[in-house]
Subunit: 342 residues, 2 copies
Amino acid sequence: MIIDIHGHYTTEPQAVHLFRDKQLAGLADPARKPTTTDLGISDEALVKSVEPQLKFQKERGSDVTVFSPRASGMAHHVGTEAIGVQWSRVSNDLIHRICTLLPENFVGVGQLPQFPGAPIENCIPELERVVNELGFVGVNLNPDPSGGYWQAPPLTDRYWYPIYERMCDLEVPAMIHVTSSCNPAVHHTGAHYLNADTTAFMQLLQGDLFKDFPQLRFVIPHGGGAVPFHWGRYRGLAQDMKKPLLTEHLLKNVFFDTCVYHYPGIELMTRVIPVDNILFASEMVGAVKGIDPETGHHFDDTRRYVDQVKALSAEDRRKIFEGNARRVYPRLDRTLARRGRK
Amino acid sequence: MIIDIHGHYTTEPQAVHLFRDKQLAGLADPARKPTTTDLGISDEALVKSVEPQLKFQKERGSDVTVFSPRASGMAHHVGTEAIGVQWSRVSNDLIHRICTLLPENFVGVGQLPQFPGAPIENCIPELERVVNELGFVGVNLNPDPSGGYWQAPPLTDRYWYPIYERMCDLEVPAMIHVTSSCNPAVHHTGAHYLNADTTAFMQLLQGDLFKDFPQLRFVIPHGGGAVPFHWGRYRGLAQDMKKPLLTEHLLKNVFFDTCVYHYPGIELMTRVIPVDNILFASEMVGAVKGIDPETGHHFDDTRRYVDQVKALSAEDRRKIFEGNARRVYPRLDRTLARRGRK
């Protein structure tokens, strides 16, 4: 089977945006706050809203998408912490309903109510809720809740340890994923996302986090930002810093997805990153929506690129498409097994 | 001939660091300010300080290095604007002396006294001095003088226009290069440099700067950060934003260097970036100093990677090693021509 580990709910019904507008309008005028968190979206409307994803799954031959709220919609830097808590619950509940309505197609990953400067402990109740009550298999963790100004301590700082402890207890990995950028110098999908991937990897390289958390697992999306392209630089920096080889130092705990939107990028990735560390993903419907005039196919139809890499064996491909995801997300494996997909 | 367009003076004599310490100590105690900008470094000491670079030039077969002050040493975010003006002059003067002592080996590129929040006009006197008086062929332009917090407007903002106008008048390109990071979340050579490359490219993609400045030229170092690895993403984002093809929109004005420290990275780059936009560089002695145990050669011996790319013709290689640099840096071309290197 083919598991796409990186999909966001980017096709929400208008009611979601209207709710968010009311939430934020309430900051200026409390009279405009939403009076209910019931968005009034029917099951039919929810199913209809994900038709684009279902169509792409069918056309491209993927089976199940690991699905989380719109990444740029998390906007941890906006409003107040209380608004973020409510917004996370509403967003995660929508994902849960979709995963319940279409259990063959979607498995949930949660948004956390991070807030700049707030203790990460404050996210633990929502982490526990999405895993224990909603059956989610992972969370998105934002290394820069300031939205493009990098005010948070690095991921190796003890600030983050409480959430790591609970993630390990619950056996859920985190995808390291920033949200929208409120910094006019930094475009979200064209710079901030890739920079965050790169920055997070380097933070981990500098530290020794996995000595403290050998069970902790991170997925770095968008092919790891700049990392595979600069794999020699990172091997060299680790060596200069007297760190172990990256395979030992990081690659038991750090994984990369295949959201790289052209064949040469995916081919490079498979050459330098061990196959056990690559997880198939497309981020559809996501950052790049168009058709590549050079190929006649969607830029984000990443399965085609993986299929084209001749150096991959059938077993390699099985790992990238399915096996690695089931290993990195143990709760995903169990969810699929319960549905008869051993 | 082989021109390495990206070298920094990272082997400065101790006297340079002592001067900088005095400068910054003077912020707390004016009695400790340096009493002179004469660092007391003899010509012999200067020539001796660049022996590592001369040795690598000889061993690796490059002829001339386009040489600028230590990138992380620029530290535009440190101290006061007046200190930065003095520091830039001292740093540029050292480069000038080296280029004068070893004219076959080094051609100068300047550091600008940028300061967070200060008008970019304040850099024009030093720009004119390094070009008109010191014979430099380019400058380093820092898109984030805040040192890792991204407080400056994007490079397409009119804030920057005065320096672009003078650069065009003087026929000098800028290498887009940040300096050290004062942000504990963002490592300088492992994250900030690459992020800046990526961010700058996306800023240019979003804007239409080269309509206003068709003669302006930027070199994005470190292989363009994440850009070539995500070339499909950038082509797709440009298409979604109704921009022209990147070849039209940016590649008449934006160039990438080859500071990518492994063969697969360089190979990818030559596959997706037109050969006319790739300039040879190694950044030696720079970010990664060690020997790659997988090859037995220095990570930053980038000539080996370019030599290995079989798909490049002799003419392609001549462009990457020499021709493109002479076109992008017209003053470099004239300097070399005056020395009989037509």
